[in-house]
Amino acid sequence: MPRDASTDKPLVELVNVTKIYPPDIVALEDVSLRIYKGEIFFLTGMSGAGKTTLIKLICRLETPTRGLIEVAGRDISRISPAGIQRMRQKIGIAYQEFRLLEKQTVLQNIAMAMEVTYASTKAIHARVDELLALLNLSDKRDKRTGELSRGEQQRVALARAAANGPSLLLADEPTGNLDPAATELVINLFRHLNEKNGSTIVVATHDKSIYAETEHRVMDLHNGHLSAHPNRAPRQIELFEA
């Protein structure tokens, strides 16, 4: 459900953000962006364009070299370490490299995200079963994640990101290892979270198949510069004219 951008307050706002990795690798340059509450937002771009960097900046795994980043109206460079941890409990992140504990089971991996919020064991089990069913992983619940295929691991990473019903879900290349059927399941999960939970969803991807048909906003990163996606530019203009 695309939102009317002019009235809502943005959930995430970047103002002239530049990120330079030492010594002088410019990952993002002068990026300004607003992501609204309840939106599904696609961030596209080739490998090395700066998508992952942008996602890390939003949850403060990296700090910008210049510029301002606000989440839910707060300048995140001014939030205390404890505040950042509380913020991360409400942001689900599916990392490009998954970051699962391979020696622990699917259940344990997903449960960790909920345990840090002191959820009850009962609630954790119910939620894990629900998510695994949605992602067609129910039979893998008690397997160690190290024994799963890349595609399965990817979905576990997504389930963990979705576990707390986050206000904001950041998914970095969520379909990179998935076949079309599994990709469909993931898209459905996003839709489910967005509609049932009101989650704002940011998908960084270079997989055309998942944004080609979408009615949601798509923006493109190219060498650290952000612009409306070329294929989408006309529609965006139409939208503003309407």
Binding site: Q85, R88, Y118, S120
Partner: protein, 295 residues
């Protein structure tokens, strides 16, 4: 409620993951406490014994002639000038004789042949209790020897001095073992904690990404230190108590131990040692957590 349950469960998980090291730590803590408590127990009993000996500590100045009544205040004054005393008793030949008679009671016939003059007159000086410092006592007895007609001063101080020297030595041993206790405990606790942190590095990193608060991560580790301190100190003290029981039952009857009325720590002191062990281990954990964990 949930919070506590999580902390306890996480602690249990930690302990299971690194149980080998945990056992080593527990042993080290136990042995440190045992060693320290052992020396401390002996020292404690020596102190008690010397306090008791000090109770009937008196200096007897034997005289080569009776001091007439009118000269006594002058001598008393001299003694008072030298140091604080509780009381001074002049004992004449006759008094000494009748005392001995009273002591011998049934066998007082032995004295018939000797006559009332065979015992020397004396002055009994009872120093104040605060004169327990043994060097002061020996100074005092040196002084008493300079009194007119003093022939000999008996203070049992030679024996007391050796006893005191031993107590002083023991004090050093207790202090050393206390220092050793502190060093070994903090070292082993810190070492274990580092191992835990290293073995859980990956997990701690993910927890940070998932938004775990610092309490969620640190409290279980702190609890682990506390638990080690409590169990280790209890075991160490328990072992010492067992040793004490065994020794006293083996060497019961008249002997060295009975002479000193050898006793275990009173409950308050036992609790204090236990608490100190817990505090040390907790402190060690706290210190290492700050050093090794950045969240």
């Amino acid at each position: 409620m949930h919070f506590l349950a999580y902390i306890v469960r996480q602690t249990g998980k930690n302990l299971r993951q690194t149980w080998g090291t945990q056992v080593m730590t527990l042993l080290t803590v136990t042995l440190s406490v045992l060693l320290f408590a052992f020396f401390f127990l002996i020292y404690n009993n020596m102190l008690r014994a010397s306090a008791r000996l000090g109770d009937d500590l008196r200096l007897i100045v034997y005289l080569d002639q009776e001091i007439p009544e009118q000269n006594r205040p002058e001598i008393e004054k001299k003694i008072h000038e030298f140091g604080p005393v509780e009381k001074i008793v002049f004992v004449s030949r006759a008094e000494a004789f009748s005392r001995l008679r009273a002591q011998l009671d049934k066998e007082k016939d032995v004295l018939n042949d000797l006559g009332p003059d065979f015992l020397p007159p004396s002055i009994e000086v009872y120093p104040l209790k605060n004169l327990h410092d043994l060097t002061k006592i020996s100074q005092f007895s040196d002084f008493l020897l300079t009194l007119p007609h003093a022939a000999k001063v008996q203070s049992g101080s030679d024996w007391l001095r050796r006893f005191g020297d031993f107590t002083n030595l023991l004090q050093v041993v207790v202090l050393l073992s206390g220092v050793l206790l502190i060093i070994s405990m903090t070292f082993i606790i810190s070492y274990t904690l580092r191992l835990t942190v290293v073995s859980r590095q990956g997990e701690l990193e993910i927890l940070r990404l998932l938004g775990a608060t610092s309490a969620y991560i640190r409290l279980p580790l702190l609890l682990e230190g506390m638990l080690q301190g409590f169990l280790g100190s209890s075991l160490g003290l328990g072992a010492l108590y067992f040793l004490y029981q065994w020794t006293t039952s083996r060497f019961s009857g008249p002997g060295f131990l009975n002479l000193f009325d050898f006793a275990f720590f009173p409950p308050e002191l036992t609790a204090a040692i236990l608490l100190a062990g817990v505090a040390l281990c907790t402190g060690g954990s706290l210190f290492s957590i700050r050093r090794f964990i950045s969240i």
